[in-house]
């Protein structure tokens, strides 16, 4: 009994161990050799610990940024980072075990739904599933669920989103790919369909973005972290200048306040770098394990793949989509404080991936004009929607951050609606 108590109290309450055990299960189900099971499990545990380390670096930097932003402009400034939200939820909020179990639960519910319903979509983008799992757990927790009910409800909701979001995008996907073989597995679908609607209403399908000669790449986005730095450094410096040396001195001490904030911006990027290295380690074993199982259990499935699957269909539209979404997100950034919401600082990488894919959707149904108008609207949409969720995230305990991928935000809204309805009875 004492041994059992020791195991429950000291081992099974450790999120890193629980996550390792899930990886172990996945690897064992695939009948991997013992050596591969042990190394895969250990790497997954390590991934969680690296992720935690990255998360605390990000939060250290953002705590200073958030406070000085408030002093400089008299309002709240939130950085849009789904990675950061995941980091805080898994570590500070102590929901790491639940998030990992629900990640596996989402896989299972997705397989069941793909087998028994006409929606044969298997969601294969590991990182996106981790973000969805995070928001499902966070909001299920917020609605008051704990333990097994929390895991079941979050898995069912996440699994339903993982099955239905690719189905929602498929009518436009069929037009883009010219077939029904491949689906889109990226939790920004509501944003893409919103963009397509605006584009269809305002655009002209006959004039495609692909008829224009453009450079085929965005070279300044070659390095993810450099691109994030290019955006975060000006944000931090503007805050430093407006807050002034006196306000910054509380944190900077004897260091020049501009230099200090420049280094804090780099700290943010460092945290993101470490956190993402942790996420990759964490998912490296889990995702292929479940991918193999799901592909076997639903052989006639349509794989829902990450957004780069669409880039070859309309590379110009990706570039236009990124540019116009960025313009829209800057407009959105100034709109949110007027609505009495915090100012949301857009993320460059989400603008690139979500914006680029929105560009492909928009071009397909509304050509160049539709892409420009649709993607500006998309940029505003992906800032306002997370801003609307931010008061609830603040109540839960998230500091200085909000989500990016809009489907995960709608997951939050979904839980809030359920909570309101059940509250009536």
């Amino acid at each position: 009994m004492q041994v059992l108590n020791f195991i429950i109290k000291n081992i099974l309450t450790q999120a890193s161990v629980v996550i390792g055990l899930i990886a172990l299960l996945g690897l064992a189900l695939q009948k991997k050799p013992v050596g591969a099971i042990i190394s895969g499990t250990m790497k997954t545990i390590l991934g969680f610990l690296v992720l935690s380390a990255g998360s605390s670096v990000i939060q250290g930097s953002l705590a200073i940024f958030g406070d000085l932003f408030n002093k400089a402009f008299g309002l709240k400034g939130l950085v849009a980072s789904i990675e950061g939200i995941n980091g805080q939820a898994m570590t500070d909020l102590g929901l790491g075990s639940e998030i990992a179990i629900v990640l596996a639960g989402i896989f299972i519910v997705n397989i069941i739904l793909a087998r028994v319903t006409k929606f044969k979509y298997i969601f294969l983008t590991g990182q996106a599933l981790l973000w969805e799992s995070t928001l499902c757990v966070v909001f299920a927790y917020f609605t008051g669920l704990r333990g097994l009910p929390l895991i079941l409800v979050a898995s069912i909701v996440g699994g339903a989103f993982a099955t239905l979001m690719p189905a929602f995008a498929q009518p436009v996907m069929r037009q883009i790919t010219g077939s029904d073989d491949i689906a889109l597995g990226h939790f920004c679908t509501i944003g893409y369909m919103f963009t397509a609607l605006i584009s269809k209403l305002t655009g002209d399908k006959s004039k495609s973005t692909e008829d224009i000669a453009l450079p085929q790449s965005l070279e300044f986005l070659q390095d993810t972290y450099l691109s994030v730095m290019v955006v975060m450094v000006p944000f931090y410096l503007i805050v430093a200048i407006f807050a002034g040396p006196a306000a910054c001195a509380e944190y900077a001490g004897d260091t020049n306040y501009i230099i200090f904030m420049f280094l804090q911006a780099l700290q943010f990027v460092t945290g993101l770098y470490v956190l993402m290295a942790g996420v990759r380690l964490l998912l490296a074993e889990l995702v292929p394990a479940f991918q193999g199982i799901s592909m076997k259990l639903v052989p006639n499935s349509k794989p829902a793949l990450d957004c780069p699957v669409l880039f070859p269909y309309a590379p110009n539209a990706v570039i236009f989509g990124f540019i116009f979404t960025t313009i829209g997100s800057i407009i959105g950034m100034f709109i949110t404080p007027l609505m009495g919401l915090p100012m949301i600082l857009p993320g460059v990488m989400s603008n690139f991936f979500a914006g680029g894919t929105a560009g492909i959707f928009a071009n397909q149904v509304g050509g160049r004009r539709g892409t420009a108008i649709g993607c500006i609207a998309h940029g505003i949409f992906i800032i306002i929607i997370p801003a609307l969720l931010s008061p609830m995230l603040g109540q839960i305990g998230f500091q200085n951050m909000t989500c990016t991928d809009v489907d995960t935000v709608f997951t939050g809204f979904f839980f809030m609606i359920i909570k309101s309805i059940t509250g009536i009875f």
Binding site: V172, T177, D181, L218, E219, G292, P308, F311, P312, P315
Partner: protein, 125 residues
């Protein structure tokens, strides 16, 4: 939903009649021409062969020529979009045959093709 009606129309228009033997013969002709070609001409020819084999539903052959095309010249377009569908078809066949290794093999091919698309658009390829 405003997108659904069109889909049905498109599907009705699809399914053109193709003569498989004719397509294979055309592809074989172009394969012969490959020996004398190089550079952009070779890439163009490889893509044409890949496309003919795809239409003829000779998946392995189509994959072979498209892969060579992308090895010579990484570019967005029909080679990579067709290749993605062909890999998926092979993955599905492997899943139906319960061949775990092949499922894994073609999933990895899908992933690396997506990585290539991502790298290309970010100027890394």
């Amino acid at each position: 939903m405003f997108f659904f009606k069109k889909k049905e129309k498109k599907q009705e228009e699809a399914a053109p009649v193709v003569n498989k033997e004719e397509l294979i013969a055309k592809a074989a002709e172009k394969v012969n021409a490959l020996e004398e070609s190089e550079g952009d001409d070779r890439v163009k020819l490889l893509n044409e062969i890949g496309s003919l084999y795809t239409q003829a539903e000779e998946t392995d052959q189509a994959i072979k020529y498209y892969e060579e095309s992308l090895e010579l010249c990484k570019q967005h377009g029909k080679a990579s979009t067709d290749l993605m569908k062909l890999y998926n078809k092979k993955r599905q066949e492997a899943a139906e045959a319960k061949d775990d290794e092949k499922v894994k093999f073609y999933m990895e091919k899908v992933q690396s093709l997506m990585q290539m698309s991502k790298d290309m658009i970010r100027g890394n390829a």
